[in-house]
């Protein structure tokens, strides 16, 4: 099981600001190891952020996103205590879903 994400969701005015730091190697498949063999690609491909049963943001990522990816955005609505769930799926089919409540 991959390491948990760090998610912070903060209500400010009529918006909720979501900041996510994921833990992932984001290997491009371009690099070679010491023996000169290619290191296989391993990166997050899709990310979904849900609030109150609806997807507020969905993303497709390539290997060009930095290791331990960062995601920050805002959406309208959201009240303190409500849940925000972030889910990612990577190129090896591994996935991770974490939830936080809006502060």
């Amino acid at each position: 099981m991959p390491n948990p994400m760090k998610i912070r969701a903060t209500a400010s005015g009529d918006h909720t600001e979501v900041k996510v730091l994921m833990s992932h190697i984001m290997e491009t498949g371009q690099r070679r190891n010491a023996a000169g063999e290619p290191i296989p690609a391993h990166f997050i491909q899709t990310v979904k952020v849900e609030h109150a049963g609806r997807t507020v943001l969905s993303a497709q990522w390539g290997p060009g996103v930095s290791a331990n990816p960062w995601l920050a955005f805002r959406f309208k609505g959201g009240a303190k205590g409500e849940a925000v769930r972030v889910t990612w799926v990577d190129s090896k089919g591994e996935s991770r879903s974490d939830e936080t409540s809006i502060a």
């Binding site: 918006h15 984001m26 491009t28 371009q30 690099r31 491909q45 899709t46 979904k48 049963g53 609806r54 997807t55 507020v56 943001l57 969905s58 993303a59 497709q60 990522w61 390539g62 290997p63 060009g64 996103v65 930095s66 290791a67 990816p69 960062w70 995601l71 920050a72 955005f73 805002r74 959406f75 309208k76 609505g77 799926v89």
Partner: protein, 158 residues
Amino acid sequence: MSPDRRTLLRHASSAGVMSALMAWGGWPAQATAQTASGWNKAAFDGQKLDEVLAALGGTKAEAAGDVVLLAPDIAENGAVVPFTITSKLPGTKRIALLVEKNPTPLIAVYDLADGTLAEIQVRAKMAQTSNVYALVDDGRRRVFAVKEVKVTLGGCGG
């Protein structure tokens, strides 16, 4: 863009329905070969800017001040270059980031729901000094902003 799409998105909870909708997408469906997981393999595998744009489908993009790409002038570490993309187009549906001289230029594509602000922060790898494009689509127009970022230490390969 039919108004039904938003309604559908709101009710689409299963992954299957989601990916079907994403395959349909906000961009014209031409040449959008999506994988089952809703990941546009053709676009992410494209090695030239033209290939990526073709795989993303849609009309020609125009340069306009409606998109703001915030990026450093010089990136000391190409492994982590911070970008902020802001669109002033009302009803922005999709935001994409491309680094022209990376082995695969397409970095990320974001699909925004109604009420999600068109301002996204992302950290990307840059192999070398390159033009960086922020591409934005509101369902009718496609506009981009471009900025050159100088890289002193590359973040790909090595």
